[in-house]
Symmetry: C2
Subunit: 336 residues, 2 copies
């Protein structure tokens, strides 16, 4: 089997670390792995398949000989370095928001729109975490019943904001339990035992960028601009795994039973929906898993064709690292 | 000023304790305060206006001489003892779900439907916490623009399940931070750093009782059965204050600006809606307050006349104790 030279940009971050782990777990055919980060991480050693790899500084010439470059170092880095990597001959899978809405760049969830990958011109975008888990569950329902409108409220874990945010939740929780004043550094307000109705910056229309990302990316990935959607994205004091309360209106009537049946056969979805025995998706269940969990499927009787769903997934795995590696797996198939 | 003999049933619980506090804070004209609870709390002393009052066992003859009885000891106790208290001549304000949907019993939020109190026959019901904070904010908008449909997802604090639940969140959080196994006693699953999509028991249609309570109570309090509504109620690892992501569709167009203007003049509402400076309602802000905080008001462009709102309130105060005492204040005005 052909082996590939792979680079991870942002290798020391929450997602970058997980990308390395997932490449190993899924036995991705890696010839050489290059770990790239900012100057302050240089010299740090990270393990891959039992071998210690030194982190190198991300530079313009970092992509010589690289076949696949996985980026997760923020939009500013991606805007500059993804084209450089692509020009050097690498196929880029970018986890930042930089290229997602670019018409020339496919935005891909492998369970939903794998064919979009074929149209890439060197860069493929990995969607926002909260979008990925929602479309994995909604696309199979859309195929059967056509979704007209989505109203989603999210319950997003701190890991989505990186390792410092995870540390902040730990430190603040500890302080509050001890009756001490929590220190606020990463989030605009205390997140320990609190709920923040803000993820990313605000836009003039009162929405956050995260909310607009969810709306725009959903339409692009589902390849249907006619879907109407609104979103409220909320940060909760959970370390990992995003949860979502999703209300949909469909053109065709879809009973909860048929939704469950469709979803139980859908790739990447696990239906966990036995309320009588308190079985439903939880962050504590989805943690460390690659599937999107769905439950609490029930008819919304306030409209003619309505359903409510509760969707939980590991935002660092399926919401970021695993989805990126899955894209890379499809990419290398086309190279063989 | 006339003074009244007041009883609190469930005096040692989270809400019962707060009722005593709120009676004192608001200077309710109390002649004598009788604190009633189960046999195991007898002899416990609780302070009121600098005086220690012994907790007595709730018995059939506990209400002799009582003018106002505030109940918060669960539906089973209320079903049995509210009629006994009313028969003994007390006017009952009941915080349980026992009487809320009874046609003979007014279900009251003083800012919304104070006139319903007049129709009481001895028992007045205090609504569910998650319902109260929502209708305080929605009723003024309904008056102007007529709400056709509500889609709500909640973020509910553990205090709503009582003092043992608060203790469980503390203990589990501490255990998890120390890498220990958390003990699960009060909730069906771990609540520490987790999200539970279940509040109260499940019904055959897949909804929880909490969700159905919100839907039914909203229509009764807003006195409009034509309002369509669906709800998803979720428990979050927050000690106190419920948050709600509320999506409404109105008959008349309502801009975010006019909604803010209407709400800024509405009783019991505080508009906190300056996203540019990260000002929006938070549990940490609403804690200990009697008002319902609303922010993140923005147009939902997925429908013609849609708005999103974020509502936070102290579920033990306005969601329970304060609302009950406010009802009692209106009751005694009618007695004078």
């Amino acid at each position: 089997m052909k082996q590939y030279n792979v680079a991870i940009v942002g290798a020391t971050g929450a997602v970058g670390n997980k990308m390395r782990e997932v490449l190993e777990e899924r036995n991705f055919p890696v010839e050489n792995l290059r770990l790239l980060a900012s100057a302050r991480s240089v010299g740090k050693k990270l393990s891959f398949k039992g071998e210690d790899i030194s982190v190198e500084e991300l530079k313009e010439n970092s992509f010589v000989g690289i076949d696949i470059a996985l980026f997760s170092a923020g939009a500013t880095i991606s805007r500059k370095f993804c084209p450089i990597a692509a020009k050097a001959g690498a196929i880029v899978v970018d986890n930042s928001s930089a290229w997602r809405m670019d018409k020339e760049v496919p935005l891909v969830v492998p369970e939903v729109n794998p064919d979009a990958i074929k149209r890439h011109k060197g860069i493929i975008a990995n969607p926002n975490c909260s979008t990925i888990q929602m479309v994995v569950v909604l696309k199979p329902l859309h195929n059967v019943a056509k979704i007209k409108r989505i109203v989603v409220s999210t319950y997003q874990a701190v890991s989505g904001k990186g390792l410092k945010a995870v540390e902040e939740l730990k430190l603040q929780s500890k302080a509050l339990l001890e009756g001490a004043e929590p220190e606020i550094k990463v989030f605009p307000h205390r997140i320990g035992f609190n709920i923040l109705p803000q993820i990313d910056d605000f836009l003039p229309n009162g929405y956050t960028k995260e909310e607009i990302k969810m709306i725009q990316e959903t339409k692009k990935i589902m390849e249907d601009d006619s879907i109407k959607m609104t979103a409220t994205t909320i940060r909760v004091p959970v370390f990992n795994c995003h949860s979502e309360s999703v209300n949909i209106e469909t053109e065709k009537k879809l009973s909860p039973d048929s939704a469950r049946e469709i979803l139980s056969k859908s790739p990447g979805v696990i239906v966990l929906d036995e309320p009588a025995s308190c079985k439903y998706p939880l962050p504590s269940i989805a943690d460390g898993k690659d599937e999107c969990f769905v439950g609490r499927i029930r008819e919304d009787e306030s409209i003619e064709n309505g359903l409510n769903l509760w969707i939980v997934a590991d935002n660092i795995r399926k919401g970021a690292a695993t989805n990126a590696v899955q894209i890379a797996e499809i990419v290398i198939k086309s190279l063989q």
